[in-house]
Symmetry: C2
Subunit: 237 residues, 2 copies
Amino acid sequence: MVIRVSDFESQEIRSLTLFSGLDDACFSTLMRGAYVQNFPPMIDLITEGDKSDFLHVLISGSVELFANWSGHETTMAVLRPTSTFILAATIRRARYLMSARTLEKSRIVLVPSEDVSAVFDLDPDFARAVVTELAVCYRANVMTTKNLKLRSSLERLANHLLAARKLAGDAQSFDLGLEKRRLASSLGMTPENLSRAFRQLKPYGVAIDGSRVMIADASDLEGLAKPSDLIDESCVN
Amino acid sequence: MVIRVSDFESQEIRSLTLFSGLDDACFSTLMRGAYVQNFPPMIDLITEGDKSDFLHVLISGSVELFANWSGHETTMAVLRPTSTFILAATIRRARYLMSARTLEKSRIVLVPSEDVSAVFDLDPDFARAVVTELAVCYRANVMTTKNLKLRSSLERLANHLLAARKLAGDAQSFDLGLEKRRLASSLGMTPENLSRAFRQLKPYGVAIDGSRVMIADASDLEGLAKPSDLIDESCVN
DNA sequence: GAAGCTTTTTGATTTGCGTCAATTATTTCG
DNA sequence: CGAAATAATTGACGCAAATCAAAAAGCTTC
């Protein structure tokens, strides 16, 4: 059964950079073919290698992008609302390079690839929005690569914590927001190593209780992390 | 002094996917403001952190994209003709995330960012070409991340050699095409470790003499490398 | 609230890979 | 061409991080 996108959600989707510049007619075209779906946690949404059919928009909950090779699995990113995913595959009409699963109960809008393509040609503003969104994602990916190749796992963790703190409005304490094993995988390390890394950060004023992180003095941690806006600019997708 | 783009080079640039669909008027607009420049080897073209002003098109020679952090440097990619670079920064009008330098004597076309932007709005075909190019680059980057996170350095080398062999038309022997230390950096390893890795590949029929690589039996090496078109699809940029 | 699961932590051990240092090969350039 | 510089290789060593194993702590679920 197809479930239409509600007006309320429409509003929310519209607030995304990808859709904000769009004129009403075009936006309606996109939403007409789109449908919303609720998913329980740990549901596979897409599998790498499959052909892409829909642009996904995460409205609530959280989604993990991950990849497999030769028996190994790695977390590529953890997405939170409101963000789009697999835009590149949608545009290329190519096979997915990553798989996706829900982590929490999630609400997701699915926009048919053909509609995205059609509106792209119809509305120059949308075209510009798509290319901007893609450029942002591209740059985020470059940052990921730099992060992996230039930093040790301890430095990656330190920078992640500083970024998370910033996202939490520079709060003195904040929630980790995801399981530690997934954080570990996303940072390119094992859960065991992450656990030890947290202890190594104690002298820098980092305390952790469950999923609650407390950073006593951010500038202390920054001394170790050496954050750079050419690597750490917070960009979800 | 501004050097115009020759007709011959014009032809070559046009053959790029980015420009192929473009109508003549728009292409002329782009080329009118563009200029060509010759660079000796080892010349810094752009520096990460600087604001982007030009879309770069490599016509001949080769260019290294690299990044620095806290005293470390890593090779992000080595480009060969004909390819564009820093398209994402151009579109976002943002600061470069990577630096670039010539490796060989190179000929490069510089297209002002404003012109790219203007033609993007003017010509839907160009808009589509830009978004396609960007999507390709994005996907290449995702592959890089998967390569780094899912494979050991030996596996990365093995897959690189198989990809290079393919690029050389499945020739039994081919040139490495870049210094070993840059290859090492681009694969995320040290020169010393690369040297050892080459020796480890001997039992798999890999021989190396200077920059000449010989692969006796590709299928043998594939047994180790386990190449996947979701990671190894050859895409330069 | 206890039983059974999963996740996290901790410790012991191994290993892949980086670092340091020295030698050999290769390239550059006067 | 030969000297100097740069790259590549090799060996010894150390460290970061993975693996293995087991205990502890958190979650479910009935």
